[in-house]
């Protein structure tokens, strides 16, 4: 540990770290453009200049190591003047097209000009014209005019994906970032380039010109598209009610979590958000023959609970079958385990998930669902659906999710379902299956409910709802807790389960894995 002084306050910091990191730990922000925590210092933007006592010139905070007794000034007159100078040079060739730049609002250069610049430009020369929309990758557009040559993109492709599609060409004022010989940036992590670009030089076609960043609301969540459990920020527009424009998710950004995903997410998770808004089920649907019940959750709940009660009374709970999926959270899987396995001794519990696909050695895992590990640790054996078994002895079938249609053809499923007396589907999206079921209950997505997921490494991560569920959708844990209470084997136990946290506490009590991981 060494003692350093930043702005005349003393701090104890670790030996060997840089002034920038020491200041960050001390809560003092030093402006920076090229520096990124994921990479070693580059020192090309010159924004992080600080004054150090005893040194004749200003030094770069990002690449200067701390010494014992070092006195650093981050707000002295010389530093403020130097920052202005650096900004003036950076803006000399930077086009002022903030109104049409997608980075506006998130742009560091814009923020620093507001905070440290605010000068009148002294440059009378015309800014140089350059390529404004070079397509450098399947989702990326590069604007050479806006680029400040911080090299974050080049370093990302060199150090994280090891693909090195981008390079620096020419020298001096002609320096530019570009691809080699028309070989585009084509890897599963290219979307990160648009996120780490400190200005709007690299923008992604998916978000390009769609909306403005300050109109978006943000919410922390977990990516459910593979079992890695990357931390994400879902950025959505709440909608313009006066113009009948509904809520819409516009982009997914990665959040920093060094234990899970570092700083990055893959393109599958970044661009695969359309499922949140498209084709959603938002009304409870009931088949015409069942005239007795109204399409409300209370009525449907009564109906399902009566059926289960009846079968339980006749000691025929073996005629209940469940088809689950591993998009269900730990809490929901626990409730299913508790209600159907412990209370009712149901044996036919199957899993239907999206088919596995290719993973990679950075983040993406082969599973295409977020909680397979959670289901395993819960003590539910992940056995695939056997249609023949379902067809023979089932009278009540509860299906969660629509993934059985990925494995079997609709006609096969219909044939089997026609033989079953009562079929209930809990699904978030509308599809061919819904017409085969007696009751279809809309469910909330991961982004719309609270709970926790267990990722492929066995790490339990909590998440909270980002926005309200669409229409009449309810989170599955709520429906399951209601169901548990309604058919009355142990109502007082289910009575207290009003929040995912309460269920989580019960899970920890009963399942050792979740207790140890706490």
């Amino acid at each position: 540990m060494v003692k350093i002084f930043i702005d005349e306050k003393s701090f104890e910091v670790e030996d060997g770290i840089t002034v920038f990191k020491a200041a960050k730990e001390a809560g003092i922000a030093i402006p920076h453009l090229c520096y990124h925590d994921a990479f070693p210092p580059e020192g090309s933007c010159r924004m992080c200049l600080v004054e150090i006592e005893g040194l004749p010139k200003l030094e770069l905070a990002c690449s200067t190591q701390v010494r014992d007794g070092m006195k650093v000034f981050t707000k002295s007159e010389r530093v403020v003047e130097a920052r202005k100078g650096v900004l003036e040079f950076l803006l000399a060739e930077h086009p002022l097209d903030c109104p049409i730049c997608d980075k506006a609002g998130d742009c560091k250069l814009q923020d620093y000009y507001e905070t440290y610049g605010l000068f009148e430009s002294q440059f009378r020369e015309v800014k140089e014209k350059r390529e404004k929309k070079a397509k450098i990758g399947k989702n990326l557009i590069h604007d050479e005019e806006r680029c400040i040559i911080c090299k974050r993109c080049v370093r990302f492709l060199k150090e994280v994906t090891h693909t090195q599609e981008l390079g620096i060409f020419e020298r001096g004022i002609h320096t530019s970032v570009n691809i080699y010989e028309l070989l585009p940036v084509d890897n599963n992590y290219s979307g990160n380039l648009a996120q780490i670009c400190p200005v709007g030089a690299i923008t992604d076609t998916d978000f390009r010109f769609k909306t403005r960043s300050w109109l978006l609301k943000k919410g922390k969540s977990i990516c459910p598209l593979c079992s890695r459990g990357c931390n994400i920020s879902i950025e959505y527009h709440p909608g313009f009610p006066h113009f009948q424009v509904p809520k819409k998710v516009f982009r997914i950004y990665s959040l920093e979590n060094p234990d899970v995903n570092g700083f990055w997410i893959c393109d599958l998770g970044r661009y695969g958000y359309s499922y949140i808004d498209e084709n959603r089920l938002d009304r409870i649907m009931i088949k015409k023959e069942e005239q007795k019940i109204e399409p409300t959750w209370e009525q449907s709940l009564q109906f399902i609970a009566e059926k289960i009660k009846g079968l339980n009374f006749l000691k025929k709970t073996s005629q209940i079958a469940l088809v689950l999926n591993t998009w269900l959270s730990n809490e929901e899987l626990f409730l299913i385990h508790k209600i159907f396995k412990s209370d009712l001794n149901v044996e036919s519990i199957f899993f239907a998930d999206r088919p596995q696909s290719e993973g990679d050695d950075i983040l993406l895992t082969p599973e295409r669902s977020p909680n397979r590990r959670g289901a395993q640790e819960m003590g539910l054996s992940i056995q695939p659906v056997k249609l023949e078994t379902l067809a023979t002895k089932t009278r009540l079938l509860l299906v969660f999710g629509s993934s059985i249609q990925d494995q079997f053809s609709s006609s096969d499923i219909k044939k089997v379902l026609d033989k079953i007396e009562t079929k209930i589907l809990f699904a978030s999206h509308s599809n061919d299956l819904i017409s085969f079921f007696d009751i279809v209950l809309p469910t909330a997505l991961i982004a719309e409910k609270g709970g926790s997921l267990t990722n492929v490494e066995g790490r339990i991560q909590k998440f909270s709802p980002v926005f309200e569920p669409s229409g009449d959708s309810l989170p599955e844990w709520m429906m399951l807790a209601d169901l548990g209470r309604e058919f009355g084997i142990n109502p007082s136990f289910y009575e207290q389960l009003k929040t995912p946290e309460a269920i989580s506490i019960e899970t920890e009590k009963e399942i050792p894995f979740f207790r140890e991981k706490k």
């Binding site: 049409i100 929309k133 403005r212 109109l215 113009f243």
Partner: protein, 157 residues
């Protein structure tokens, strides 16, 4: 009783004031009509709509979108007007233009005049001077609410 008398006196005072204005205005108006110039104009009423007052240059009337030389809107769909609008009556949807110079343009630009409070913030916020409130149109009534929703074509005229 005394209170009621007080009201009565006030009513009479009111009638006196009103009739004084009426007769004084009447007198000067007659002088004006006869061609005798006086300092006072008499009747202040304008025979709207046949006769109209000149609108001040800073008056904020119905919006219009400015067009470029080739007829396309000047607007680059930066959505600053929609952001600043306090009554949330502007809706802009952007699209990409294949032309290199102006890449972003509004594919939809809707102002709901029925909600607009004519504060003029959109004009102030616009970085391209694309929206102005200088048409001088102040009669904006319509037979339905939909008549008051102005789209890109209507605003560009």
């Amino acid at each position: 009783m005394i209170k009621a008398l007080g009201y009565f006196i006030e009513i009479i005072r009111g009638i006196v004031i009103t009739s004084r204005h009426f007769f004084v205005n009447f007198f000067f108006r007659i002088l004006n009509v006869l061609g005798i110039k006086t300092k006072r104009k008499g009747a202040v009423t304008i025979q709207y709509p046949e006769q109209r007052k000149e609108i001040a240059t800073r008056h904020r009337s119905l919006h219009r979108l400015m067009a470029r030389e080739d007829g396309k809107p000047r607007c680059v769909a930066c959505m600053l007007c929609a952001t600043v609008c306090p009554s949330e009556c502007i809706y802009v949807e952007a699209a990409e233009d294949p032309e290199l110079e102006m890449q972003k343009y509004p594919s939809k630009f809707i102002i709901d005049i029925g909600r607009c409070c004519f504060c003029g913030f959109c004009v102030e916020a616009c970085p391209e001077d694309a929206i102005r409130m200088d048409t001088g149109k102040i009669e904006l009534a319509g037979y339905s609410r939909d008549d008051l929703v102005y789209d890109l074509d209507k605003l560009l005229k």
